[in-house]
Symmetry: C2
Subunit: 142 residues, 2 copies
Amino acid sequence: MSNTSIYTEKLRESGLRPTRQRLKICEVLFSPEKTFHFTINDLTKMIEDKMSEKISLATVYNTIHAFKKKGYLKEISINSDKSYFDTNVTEHHHFFDEDTNELIDCSNDDIDSVNIKKNITGKKIKSVEVLIKVASDNQNQN
Amino acid sequence: MSNTSIYTEKLRESGLRPTRQRLKICEVLFSPEKTFHFTINDLTKMIEDKMSEKISLATVYNTIHAFKKKGYLKEISINSDKSYFDTNVTEHHHFFDEDTNELIDCSNDDIDSVNIKKNITGKKIKSVEVLIKVASDNQNQN
DNA sequence: CAATAGTTTAGAATTGTTTTAATGTAAATG
DNA sequence: CATTTACATTAAAACAATTCTAAACTATTG
Ligand SMILES: [Mn+2]
Ligand SMILES: [Mn+2]
Ligand SMILES: [Zn+2]
Ligand SMILES: [Zn+2]
C-alpha cells in the first residue's frame, strides 16, 4: 500500500523535498488506479477529510504548481470560475456535463483523430484538444 | 454609419433598454466588419479611450452577460486568469498563441470536422470545439 | 405630473489565487 | 553534536477578476 518511494521520487523530480504534507498530497493524487479531475478546493477537502491532515492552502498551491510545471499534472480550462486539474497528463479530449459541471475523459476510441489542415505560419502545434459540451436533452443552454 | 436601430433591437431582445452607455458598448462590439475576441478590460478601455465615454464596470459586466445569455456573444475559456469573449457566435475552433496570448479563429477550411463516435448516455451534445495551442518553434512549453 | 420601473454608478463584498514574513524543520558543515 | 544554512509550512495579507449593493438618476406609465 505504501508507494512512498515513488512519491518521494516525483517530489524530488519536481524540485521539492518529501515532507509529510506533500506525501499526503501525493497519496490523494497518485494512489487511485483511475485518473481524475479536481479543483484545488476538492483536493484540500480530500486531504483534510479523508486523510485527517490539516494543510495550508499555500502548500497545496505550491505543490500543485510544481507538479504541473514538471508535467505530473495538467490544467484544464472550462470556465473562468476556477481551475480544474487532471491527473491524466496525456493529450486527450473531454466531455463537460453542463448539468453537473463534471469533466469526463473522452476515450480515443470515442472520437476520430482531429486533422488540422493549415496551421499559423511560423508556429508549432503544441496540443490539439477537443471539448464536447453536453447536457440533458430537455434543458435550456444559456 | 448609424446602426442604432439594430443595436436597439439587440438590446431589447436581451431584455435591456437602449441607453447611451449600452449603445456605446454595441458600437464597439457590433460595428466592426470582422468578429473579434476581447476581455472585459479590453472592452472597457475601448469604450473609454476610443469613444471617450466614461462607463462603469458594473454596466459593462451586466450588458455583456445579457448578450451572452441571449447568444449575441460567446465566452471562451483559455486559462483561468480572465474570461475571453467572442463576437463570433458560431460554433468554431481556435488557435491560441502561447507566445502572444492571442486567440485566433480557425477557419472551417483549416480543420476536418470532428467526428464523435460515442457520447455520454442520456446527454445531448451542445457543442464540439477544438483548441489548438501553438508556440514558436524554439520555446519551452511549461 | 406623480408614481413606478428600470439604469448607472462608486464602492463594497466575494472568490480564487499569489505573496509575504514569521516560525519551524531538515540537511549540511565542521 | 553543535552550528549554520537551506528549504517548508503556515496564517494572514495582498491581489485581481467578478459580482453585489444601495443610492442617485432617468425613462416610462397612469
Ligand atoms: Mn463563467
Ligand atoms: Mn480569479
Ligand atoms: Zn482528463
Ligand atoms: Zn473565435
